[in-house]
Symmetry: C3
Subunit: 219 residues, 3 copies
Amino acid sequence: MTSQLFTHDVQHTLDIAGIFVFALSGGLLAVRKNLDIFGIAMLAEVTALGGGVLRDLVIGAVPPAAFTDTGYFFTPLAAAVVVFFLHPEVERINWTVQSLDALGLGLFAVTGTAKAHDYGLGAVASVALGVATAVGGGVIRDVLANEVPSLLRWDREIYAVPALAAAVLVAVLIAAHALGPATGTAAALVAFVLRMLALRYGWRAPRAWHRIGSRTSEE
Amino acid sequence: MTSQLFTHDVQHTLDIAGIFVFALSGGLLAVRKNLDIFGIAMLAEVTALGGGVLRDLVIGAVPPAAFTDTGYFFTPLAAAVVVFFLHPEVERINWTVQSLDALGLGLFAVTGTAKAHDYGLGAVASVALGVATAVGGGVIRDVLANEVPSLLRWDREIYAVPALAAAVLVAVLIAAHALGPATGTAAALVAFVLRMLALRYGWRAPRAWHRIGSRTSEE
Amino acid sequence: MTSQLFTHDVQHTLDIAGIFVFALSGGLLAVRKNLDIFGIAMLAEVTALGGGVLRDLVIGAVPPAAFTDTGYFFTPLAAAVVVFFLHPEVERINWTVQSLDALGLGLFAVTGTAKAHDYGLGAVASVALGVATAVGGGVIRDVLANEVPSLLRWDREIYAVPALAAAVLVAVLIAAHALGPATGTAAALVAFVLRMLALRYGWRAPRAWHRIGSRTSEE
């Protein structure tokens, strides 16, 4: 099992931390969209767990981990409670939240890729599912909030590329039989650093070519 | 098999009735959104069957019941035909439709929770899947109609809480080895009564705290 | 295995061609919605592969073919690159793209129905999954682009009916033990011809009855 990169306790603590931070972003969007407490809780749940559930359904790991570990299920509810009472404070530490989110992005890209490999998927499919684990919850969050997924919009800093970089690194490490706690952590940190640089310097992905002369308003 | 709360015939008749009523709500939204006959049929299908399919994919019950019982498949089409020809009449008996919908909500919360338990899921996951069975179809309906899911909006009467109450009751009954036709029906009726009271008295779930002074327009 | 209608090489070439054309339509919508290169790639992927993944999850064929055949995965990326650099040219040959799309529609309706039958589903469920294979990717594409699915809108030429016709034909052929390369191709061509006629003559599906006197603006 290469997905068990760390001891079970370390892995579980990291997972819970990542789930908590992802859930915060879901809850905050729900508040901005004026949803009620159930909207907050539900967006927190799907943002935090949606990517992993998608991956588990595709690789045939049913029931998905999100439904067998009650810690995974209750953590987003805790985040929803925090957002419910303290959302202005959480918004105020937005930079901290985004930094933690970047750590979660790297973590889930790494563990998602490794788990897909464990279930016998090839390198390309494992990378795709690693990225899906990391970004899938956010896409479901935006769809439920009736917005074009932030991931796809040109006017947002790149989010998929850092996850993709980490996932590709993990696939290379697996092929080289070199995936371990240290190298796995390094791959996650690559995603973290790329995402933080993207936020700091406003890195965006290009839109389609040949749009010279066409002014496009902020969508 | 605790999910076989009633004799097979009674269970099947109840399921078909619940599916029909849920399908009506899907078809009516399609008419309001100006969709064509296929939009009506498709929203009827996903509203009626979407929650159960989601549950079955998660618990590994493939192919989902919606694809193995042709009665389940054709019932929403019958509802779509009714809506196609008689939608003004159906809208006019809206109170009746909403009452039947509340019965379906309770029924699916109960049977969904019991089926998840049958497939070996824990109490918390079974409750979550019972609620998902009851409300999942409506969420998919609203997403396809390009609306913020009614379930999540603060300006709609509570819908998830009644389902949650019934699902929790079923989990408690299972733990106490007391789930049977009578107690299962009672749990479904609790959801029904809560939902009817919510409709009657306009019960809504709260939005996030600390919004004092911020006027929020009806979204 | 009735789904192996043709030799493996022929089947694979047809699949790849169909995936490429479907991916073009996803990429073009992404350009129109002003999404970045990742939005283009992601909409290309989900449009081309979404219907098949949905079918495979429902019939329990996990991991889905889209994740086990790297050709299936990379083909949409090739289409995304084409759209990225050449989208005005691709838009200009819109009639060609729509014709190829109609061929893909027929192909996937036929192979989707046959594959569902191979996995033991009944005639009705196989037809439903054949249609889902053909049109599912486009629905996911439109949901991600935050639009009402084109499939459901009354102001678009019929798209589901041609797929439904081909799927029903395949189910009848299977029941008559007459499904083979020639009859399967004929069923796909029926879908193609119906779709082309719908485009040529502006065939639309009706909206709900009794709307006399109610002006409905183009949505």
